[in-house]
Symmetry: C2
Subunit: 338 residues, 2 copies
DNA sequence: CTTCACAGTCGAAGCGCTTCGCCATCCAGA
DNA sequence: TCTGGATGGCGAAGCGCTTCGACTGTGAAG
């Protein structure tokens, strides 16, 4: 492998000149710079990442901690990952993937200068990793908002607003009894804060519009979604609309509605809260409150870059929800009978 | 951050002794070693990754190239990724995630000593990245088997055997007309070699048993699977069994069968070729030829480790397929009418 | 009592890069 | 002609680690 010295020799300049010419950190005459660049190109020179990291104390690597827990929704996670990697590359950073659900791993890559920032996914309200993250010698950005955000940078969809938006959309179309197919009771209890916040927003929206909200937790599976529909339409007051915030159950919900002979939106209105890609893969098109995974991943990286740049004010950013395909699966039904 | 020098001072030994004590590369007396380890622990010492990489010319990082192409089956990919990351960690390696479908990226991390091995996923028969991979200054392992494997290490499920196994299982249960719900025609044409090999195996199995194989390509979506079922059961000879090698369409297939009033396995037998996790998430249990993503990912890392260890013989490993839940969704029907 | 092997430790030379301070030029202004 | 600020480039000092050769003391062998 050619080193910077080979380039210097080929270009007839000193080591430091090559470094400055390639990094642009000092003025180098046009002519010299071109000569250096040409030599580098012809030799196929690539700076040794380790040497550079050692000398500059920056690794240009961002660690991404994605705990591969059972029950994790892979589809969603990949959206975030894709956003993170893409954004990192536009900043010339590589992404190191950590999958162990162990703060020690994150501490290791941070303390060994393997990575100079950390993005942590799937953060729970009361996440066990929080103390470790606060103690990190490098900036971190959490995707998800824990209860106590002191000293931590966080970003997520504004799920509260998303819940409110979903319910409002339906309420304004005239629905008065709305079912919320949410995460499983277990997940809710575990403090999966997105689910909790979503529910709070939905409840607030229901209260504001004076409509009834039926909570129907669902397992994150096809069968779970089907069972949730079964439950929603056979027990207690019958909803005329559904908000589904459970990507893995979405397919089951749609399929079960069809099996019950319920047409969307004629017989029942449905609003999905999901990444648009997942909604698009369904057999029917649904009105969707988008969970913009890629965008959030991208923002997480931007926030990390900012903090690497010296701005050490922790900040929580909540991305405003947007409605896709509005009206596609939401029917007006002001006079709908119970 | 404490350096090796701090540890040496705290333990009252020289720099090199610390290095040897912690790495075990030379004999160090028990007493000294314990003293060093204690000092390191108490100081919270972590070797600087860059410095180590520079001095030892090993980064202890494995690059994983996963082209995030549209239409990629995220579920499957994650299986492989999980296997790669887990195996890498057991070898003390971290994983750098590359998602650009560009050999330049791989070349960059290899040439800059950012990674000292590369695992490349989703390799096509005639993959454009092949020349670049052959020219890499570090070992590479491909997941997937291109047409020309010269000089390349490859690993994958033995899809030919898998196809044969799926068809044989059904043929031996008495089926004589079998539908193969495969990847889309586009994918097949693109040279998605797993699909091609699978089909070849299935055809071979059909020929060997003297049964008829109906090919039904399907888009990798729920709707695609449903459409494929529709096509299989309304056009031409009616199959009594289905082999489904299209994970994303699997849900649609099952749902469509149900809608047509076809019971599994009473009316139609079904064998899925899919990761067990995906099969398990379906509303019904299916006989499954497992695509052991995690295992293959793990093997890829083992192969990379081996080549890093100096063994530079390229090798192609095909993992034998296994049948899960045999008989669950395959009915005997030797006397089934056409 | 020397000699020798060997276990255990140390010193120092890099690994390839960044970056700081400094030195030449060169030209404008006095 | 001299001064002084740009401008462009150079030299050298590290960054923190690994690793090679060499050194020391110890006990066994001669």
């Amino acid at each position: 492998m050619p080193t910077i010295e080979d380039v210097a020799r080929a270009a007839g300049v000193s080591l430091s000149t090559v470094s400055y010419a390639l990094s642009g950190k000092r003025r180098i005459s046009e002519a010299t710079r071109l000569r250096v660049e040409r030599a580098a190109r012809e030799l196929g020179y690539r700076p040794h990442a380790g040497a550079r990291a050692l000398a500059s104390s920056r690794s240009d690597v961002i660690a991404l901690a994605v705990p591969f827990r059972p029950g994790l929704d892979v589809q969603i996670v990949m959206q975030f990952v894709a956003g993170v990697v893409a954004a990192a590359r536009t900043h010339g950073r590589d992404v190191l993937l950590l999958t162990a659900d162990d703060p020690e791993e994150v501490a290791r890559v941070a303390a060994s200068s393997t990575a100079d920032a950390v993005v942590v996914m799937d953060v729970a309200s009361d996440d066990a990793r929080l103390p470790a993250l606060r103690a990190l010698p490098v900036p971190s950005v959490l995707i998800g908002v824990p209860d106590d955000t002191r000293g931590l940078s966080c970003v997520d969809l504004d799920f509260t607003a998303a819940g409110r938006l979903a319910v409002s959309t339906l309420a304004e179309a005239g629905h008065t009894t709305i079912g919320l197919v949410s995460a499983s009771a277990t997940r809710l209890a575990e403090g999966a804060n997105y689910a909790v916040r979503m529910r709070a927003g939905a409840l607030a929206g229901a209260a504001a519009h004076g409509v009834e909200l039926l909570q129907v937790p669902s397992e994150p599976t096809f069968a779970g979604g089907a069972a949730a529909v079964q439950e929603a339409f056979t027990r207690g007051p019958r909803p005329t609309a559904l908000v589904v915030h459970n990507e893995a159950a979405l397919g089951g919900v749609v399929s079960a509605l069809e099996r019950l002979g319920l047409r969307v939106p004629a017989d029942v209105s449905v609003v999905a809260v999901a990444p648009s890609e997942i909604a698009a893969a369904l057999p029917i098109r649904l009105t969707t409150v988008e969970v913009p995974g890629q965008r959030i991943g991208r923002i997480a990286v931007e926030m990390a870059m900012q903090r690497m740049g010296g701005d050490d004010t922790a900040e929580t950013r909540l991305v405003a929800p947007a409605l896709l395909d509005a009206e596609v699966s939401v029917a007006r039904c002001a006079a709908q009978p119970a």
